[in-house]
């Protein structure tokens, strides 16, 4: 899933400027799971915005809604009229949701309420960890199912570097586990330590963002249009 977190409230309020009627729009998918942009967070953020506006003596109406997924066209049907009534739509979906609104509703001002950070999963209650960097050329088969691209702070393919200490990464020994420590232990357990001595060759980054924008086209799924 996509992991995101809310922008600082101050930044959001600054973006909203003098808007009098704001719609806070949540998304029921990934960002609900990571407690950043679901209906609960719509409620909390809207309430905060109202309290802050009252405190500053500003006029502000906040409408709240959440749709199933903001990254797909069809889910906007039920809210599009409400969206048009607002001065701005504050989307607390991931960056994809925000852009979907921008694309579908060119006349609506849409603002991002979240910072989208990574692909990951809820590792334990309250902990949302990064797991994949979307490199476009998965090598998990070589690394015991642990991604060194996303989970090693230096994306090393032949780690661990010298900064690995007690299983933790030098970049933040409190919160970042050293991916290569994990890989080593995993391969050891699997009896595949020979793998650790194989030199992983330089990665072909052309499948990643480095190769330019990645759009996938599946011919078999394209919309069939009748010729009139």
């Amino acid at each position: 899933m996509i992991i995101a977190e809310q922008k600082p409230l101050e930044e959001i309020r600054e973006m909203l400027g003098d808007a009098k009627k704001v719609m806070v729009l949540g998304c029921g998918a990934c960002v609900t799971i990571c407690f950043a942009g679901g209906s609960k967070e719509v409620g909390i953020l809207s309430s905060q915005l109202r309290i802050a506006a009252k405190k500053d003596g500003k006029e502000l109406e906040v409408i709240e809604d959440t749709i199933e997924r903001q990254c797909e066209n069809e889910f906007f049907e039920s809210v599009k009229d409400k969206m048009k009534e607002a001065d701005v739509v504050l989307s607390i979906a991931c960056g994809v949701g925000v852009q979907t609104i921008a694309e579908l509703f060119p006349d609506i001002i849409v603002l991002p309420g979240l910072n989208t950070t990574s692909f990951g999963r809820p590792k334990e209650p309250g902990v949302f960890a990064e797991y994949c960097g979307g490199c476009g050329d998965c090598i998990l088969d070589l690394t015991g199912g642990i991604c060194p691209i996303a989970r090693c702070s230096k994306s090393l393919l032949n780690g661990p570097c010298g900064g690995s200490e007690n299983g933790m990464c030098e970049v933040d020994p409190k919160t970042i586990q050293c991916a290569w420590h994990l890989i080593f232990e995993k391969l050891e357990k699997m009896g595949r330590l020979d793998q650790i001595e194989k030199i992983n060759p330089p990665k072909d980054w052309s499948n990643s963002m480095s190769g330019g924008v990645r759009n996938i086209v599946r011919e078999d799924l394209l919309e069939v249009k009748l010729e009139s």
Binding site: K40, I44, S47, Q48, I51, A52, K54, K55
Partner: protein, 161 residues
């Protein structure tokens, strides 16, 4: 004046807030969220013991403080509360084991949320009151009232002085 209701709470000891003077003529509106099994029972007991406690508090009963969501707290402030406190069972004595511990974490989160919008974090606290502690319920109500009197009206309803 009420003494610090000690034992378990999120109120610091010593409490710098109590060094201030109360805002003259201000009667705060305080929302108390009490759990069914302990604090609400303590409130009942305080009533049947005919203990005096300030009329400033409005009690809402929840099955467990673990049910308390930060949104409830924000809503209370949005609607004009000057203070909110959650009263649960004593730590270790929660009817649902750890509901009150979850509540406590959320109280700290709620403090952050209200601080972001310019309200003092001291307006939200958590207390732990056993079902048998009628007097402590009255004490906590008095303490929270005294504290909020020192904070003054919530900045969103200054007019209520």
């Amino acid at each position: 004046m009420a003494e610090r209701a000690d034992l378990m709470s999120t109120v610091p000891d010593p409490d710098p807030l109590m060094e201030k003077e109360p805002v003259p003529g201000f009667e705060p509106l305080i929302v108390t969220i009490a759990c069914h099994y302990c604090s609400y029972a303590a409130a009942d007991l305080a009533g049947s013991m005919r203990l005096q406690y300030p009329p400033n508090i409005r009690i809402i009963r929840t099955p467990c403080t673990g049910k308390v969501d930060v949104l409830y707290i924000l809503k209370a402030f949005e609607e004009g509360a000057d203070g909110v406190y959650v009263a649960g069972c004593e730590e270790g004595g929660c009817h649902f084991d750890i509901g009150n511990l979850y509540a406590k974490q959320r109280i700290y989160y709620a403090k952050k949320l209200i601080q972001q919008v310019g309200l003092e974090p001291e307006r939200v606290e958590m207390f732990n009151i056993a079902a048998s502690a009628g007097p402590r319920f009255a004490e906590v109500a008095a303490l929270m009232t005294e504290r909020v009197k020192r904070l003054g009206p919530s900045p969103i309803n200054i007019k209520r002085i």
